[in-house]
Symmetry: C2
Subunit: 243 residues, 2 copies
Amino acid sequence: MMRTRTMSGGGAGRESGSTAGLALSRSRQDYLKALLQLADRSPAPVTALARHLGVSAPSVTHMLARLADERLVSLHHRGAARLTPEGSRQALRIVRRHRILETFLVRALGLDWSDVHEDAEVLEHHVSERVLDALDRFMKHPTEDPHGHPIPDARGRVARRALAPIGELPAGARAVVREIRDRDRARMTRWKQAGLVPGAQLVIRAANRDDDVYEIEVAGRRLVTGSEGLDGVLVQRVGRRAT
Amino acid sequence: MMRTRTMSGGGAGRESGSTAGLALSRSRQDYLKALLQLADRSPAPVTALARHLGVSAPSVTHMLARLADERLVSLHHRGAARLTPEGSRQALRIVRRHRILETFLVRALGLDWSDVHEDAEVLEHHVSERVLDALDRFMKHPTEDPHGHPIPDARGRVARRALAPIGELPAGARAVVREIRDRDRARMTRWKQAGLVPGAQLVIRAANRDDDVYEIEVAGRRLVTGSEGLDGVLVQRVGRRAT
DNA sequence: CCCCGATATTAGCCTTGACTAATCCTCAAG
DNA sequence: CTTGAGGATTAGTCAAGGCTAATATCGGGG
């Protein structure tokens, strides 16, 4: 089953266009990154990938078939896909690039925390290994990006941490913000203005899960909010012992 | 004459793929840059462009037709082309990007002078205006890149300078190296090792144009060489009054 | 048991940019 | 005047990635 096209073709054989060392086209890199996020526990369905990547479902099916041919993903029940070990390695290399770039843009160039994602998203596909290493060196080998995400090391290892969404803490808990998940600039900016930034300490004053009302004290200020989006703020409990 | 295809097509209308603000595909940007270099005085012939860009002549003809449709180049006798004012503006924007990037890679990241061209060549197409401005700011608005080329300002203005190839100087002349033209890493490295870098002072000890032998004193050292390539070293005479 | 609705896939196209092969000009030398 | 050598151009393809429209296919309700 599946086409097994040789992809060598006749005369030309252009390279895929300056994808900076990795022999993967930009599109492939994006698919692998998406899979890293979406197929974390179980295989990601075609539709979810399509939504995430902003392309049509048939495009996803098609590309997944090619990636499977290239042994970068494995296909599962009803088209769902996940990364092979090799695909995972590649995806982590891209994530590393992304996070180093974000760190650079914020720390060195002084760009805004919540703006920087788009730029990194583009540059991650085009920065050569040499420049990437130089950036890394320039910043003294950072281990976290500006949102608090761990930066994979050059071999793709990520420090695993046990973090919880803010909404899961009981009233009275103390915690430190560790990670802010992107994907929605507006929300990120709101949190930032509320003081919810990596490193900030907070106390849950009240958590009413039924009515979806949370009252949090951050950096001395009170913040009352629904949970909408609060799941993007990952914290580490302190003070009391862990759940 | 010429096709006048509407290029709107049917359903989709993808954008051209992250070309950082300018609405020009990467390929178009490369063509414009090539024209800026090759069609400086007279229109550049198709073959010269093809050689410069590493593509076939038909590809050039084809692309020039499209660029002409878009009013970025004007076509002349026997297919030769030159930039329109608008094309020129665009090309200079790209050159500005390139030179700012090179300057950054050398000055801030400490990469090697003669290595940096390739990286800048790729990144110039993908760095957003925002990041470019930040880099420019970071380096305090440099006016020359590491090879001594002037960096166009944000509106495309370049400081015009009257420089001469080293081989044109008479024996006895004193001069300061101002610009090193790229395009051949090996030669650039040779010059660099010989001390021919922007800012270096030199004296022509002997210039025998007939036998193509030049003897130059740079930074205290003697350098005897043929002219091959010396035309890439542009200098400004000092001491005696200009020719 | 049949049909609906959500998903996935197949078919067929489009656009970009490049390629080769085959012409077509144009000019200069015999 | 003819021929030939260089360009330049036309014609026809290709590969990557995307898209739409039209099918499958699977999992439940009624």
